[in-house]
């Protein structure tokens, strides 16, 4: 679920775009550093971009008669780092706005803030927290997936409620809009968040089994942790 074109307007759109551009600069430096440190792993950047682009485009049906999509940024942030995920998300959002009218140019910065920054950082942070506690990689990845997914929608709801409460024909206060939005998001997004948790955990566990040296090299799950699943 991206915030569509025409919802964030005027000064707010420019402010979010400026914030998005600053985040892209941070992300670009992250990609450059990744390429310098792991020149043989460059293809993973393309793979990460493809995964974010595709997974945030697919409408998955929910019980409520609506559709939504996974975030994918927690998984990519865990694997490649939150800054790389940030830049890949920004590019994906631009392509989706240009080619599929998914999201929008005026809401690009806001979507990057929610999906790229909040989703990537919170997913990566939750994974690192679980890792420090000694959780197996599958469970640590699942925690990263579910936390990242839910917080993306928490952030999107906050941005949307802020925009709508200042709209010319606002019908609720900020808190009122926030309640309405979260009640509407919940039934669709919570099952998807659980699915994202399962996929993130399973993918990381499988990579550890097949290519532990990759996770060690990327400092995702290195040293003594390589032996434990």
């Amino acid at each position: 679920m991206h915030i569509a074109e025409g919802i964030i307007t005027g000064v707010a759109a420019f402010a979010y775009a400026g914030a998005g551009a600053a985040l892209m600069a941070v992300g670009a430096r992250g990609i450059r550093r990744f390429q310098e440190e792991h020149p043989e792993r460059k293809p993973l950047i393309g793979m990460g971009a493809a995964v974010i682009f595709f997974l945030t485009l697919i409408p998955i049906p929910a019980f409520t008669g609506t559709t939504s999509h996974p975030c994918a940024t927690p998984l990519i942030a865990i694997l490649l780092g939150p800054r790389v995920a940030l830049a890949l998300t920004g590019v994906s959002l631009l392509l989706q706005a240009a080619l599929f009218a998914h999201g929008g140019f005026s809401s690009w910065g806001a979507n990057l803030l929610a999906l790229g920054l909040v989703g990537g950082m919170s997913g990566w942070g939750a994974f690192q927290f679980a890792r420090k506690l000694g959780a197996p990689i599958g469970w640590a990845g699942a925690l990263g997936g579910v936390v990242g997914d839910i917080l993306v929608y928490v952030a999107a709801g906050l941005i949307l409620a802020l925009a709508l409460s200042h709209a010319p024909g606002a019908q609720y206060s900020f808190a009122g809009y926030l309640s309405v939005i979260y009640v509407a998001y919940g039934p669709t997004q919570l099952p998807l968040a659980l699915g994202e948790a399962a996929i993130t955990g399973l993918v990381l566990r499988h990579v550890l089994r097949q290519r532990p040296e990759v996770l060690s090299d990327l400092r995702v799950w290195g040293g003594r942790d390589v032996q434990s699943t």
Binding site: A4, F54, A167, V207
Partner: protein, 93 residues
């Protein structure tokens, strides 16, 4: 036996199907952006909410081409570099 590569390939096809079957307003399954965000924004006075700057959906069959490419290109990229994450371990000399 569980084969991750086949499972992901099947999941990819299954997940791409709803994208390819998407038919704008005629679909009964609306996205949350349309059902919640755009709906609330229009009620709040943003009449142009949801109207894209670049309306590729109005391009007829070219829209289908874009949707197919949107699924195919990421699929080819992930397939091309699959081994970098999911392949067998490097053989030690």
């Amino acid at each position: 036996m569980f084969n991750l590569r086949k499972t992901v390939l099947l999941a990819w096809v299954a997940l791409a199907a709803p994208v390819l079957a998407q038919t704008g307003d005629k679909t009964p399954m609306k996205g949350m952006d349309e059902a919640v965000n755009i709906n609330l924004a229009q009620q709040a006075g943003h009449e142009n909410a949801g109207k894209p700057l670049l309306d590729t959906e109005s391009l007829g069959d070219l829209w289908n081409l874009l949707l197919l490419l949107g699924g195919a290109v990421p699929g080819f990229i992930v397939g091309r570099y699959w081994d970098h994450l999911f392949g067998k371990r490097d053989k030690q000399p």
